[in-house]
């Protein structure tokens, strides 16, 4: 009987230079404070010695192109590479210096994929997609110099309309929980992505966030009101810039009915940063 031994969600540009450059000293200090908290969370995570780490995150049109955008994609295969971007700017530079290759937990990845297809989740599978900052910035911050356990990367299409619904993301999380429960492994699950930023994916509105919406979302997570969270509409997510909450929706499904504990919440103006843990142990 497997179980979820650790669960958390957090912002995924854990890179002080990015916020220093785009927001100023206030942004740099806030993300440094978040990074310190995520490192503490990483010590807790590592102490659970998971057999596998499921990472639910989105693609920033780094891996998938307009040729095909999967609603959900499970990374299978034996190993997964870090994305390489020549002359990287901004958040892609957060990948510099990280290990070039990570193990994939093949058995768990295949189980999520195979059993998902049987259960009616038409997942895409990839044997080659590399990982960008959405995966590796949190993983590297959590683990530091400790060895990273085998990963199961799962992509959610957060940005290219039409996205999967919040309800469907939640259902995928319930599916992952069932696979873990039926398997022999101790598994950690994290979801990544910012709270509100980049409303409407409009360049003209870069710099705006929606703290009122984010405070409401955090309260719902603390209350484990997953019905309300799964009822969020594509319109609400798009208008507030909360696209990446779809990753978190998968996690809510995986940990339900656990309540969230807020480890960090910061209103930066450009984005609201957060890190939360769920009591699953």
């Amino acid at each position: 009987m497997g179980r979820v031994v650790y669960a958390a969600a957090m912002s995924h540009v854990l890179y002080p230079d990015y916020y220093g450059q785009n927001v100023g000293p206030h942004g740099r200090e806030m993300v440094e404070a978040l990074i310190a908290v995520v490192r503490e969370m990483g010590a807790t995570l590592a102490a659970t010695t998971p057999d596998a780490l499921v990472v639910i995150a989105d693609d920033h049109l780094n891996v998938f192109s307009f040729d095909a955008i999967p609603a959900f994609c499970v990374r299978v295969g034996r190993s997964v590479d870090r994305m390489v971007q020549a002359d990287a700017i901004e958040f892609d530079r957060a990948l510099d210096g990280l290990p070039e290759r990570y193990l994939v937990h093949e058995d768990l990845a295949n189980a999520i994929l195979d059993q998902g297809m049987q259960a009616g989740f038409d997942f895409a599978a990839s044997w080659s997609a590399p990982l960008d900052h959405a995966f590796l910035s949190p993983v590297s911050t959590l683990y530091g110099r400790r060895p990273v356990p085998p990963l199961v990367p799962v992509w959610v299409n957060c940005f290219v309309a039409p996205q999967p619904t919040a309800q469907r993301c939640y259902a995928v999380g319930r599916h992952i929980a069932r696979v873990i429960a039926d398997g022999p492994w101790n598994v950690a699950v994290i979801a990544t992505g910012g709270l509100s930023h980049f409303p409407e994916l409009s360049l003209a509105r870069v710099g705006q966030s929606d703290p009122v919406f984010d405070r409401r979302i955090v309260k719902l997570m603390e209350a484990a009101d997953h019905d309300a969270l799964a009822a969020l509409t594509a319109k609400e997510l798009h208008e507030t810039g909360s696209h990446e909450l779809l990753n978190w929706l998968v996690l809510f499904g995986a940990v339900s009915p656990a309540r969230a504990r807020v480890r960090f919440f910061g209103e930066m103006g450009r984005i609201d940063l957060a890190a939360l843990e769920w009591s699953v142990g």
């Binding site: 307009f66 700017i89 980049f198 994916l201």
Partner: protein, 71 residues
Amino acid sequence: MSRYETNVVLYRLKKDQAFRDRFRADPRGSLADADLTAEERDAFARWDTRKLNELGGMLHLLISIPGLGSH
């Protein structure tokens, strides 16, 4: 409306350094074969990122093209 082609060009600009170099040297010439409207072609030539975004160009591509992306 060629939202697809706009994003194909943006994706190539991010991922293909040789294409990016050609674009920077000669924007209109490098896009001669692209299936773009006159409005899209003009926005690329002027590197008007807000216009490209309004025409369907994805924000995350527009802000992350080496040497061209900006917030």
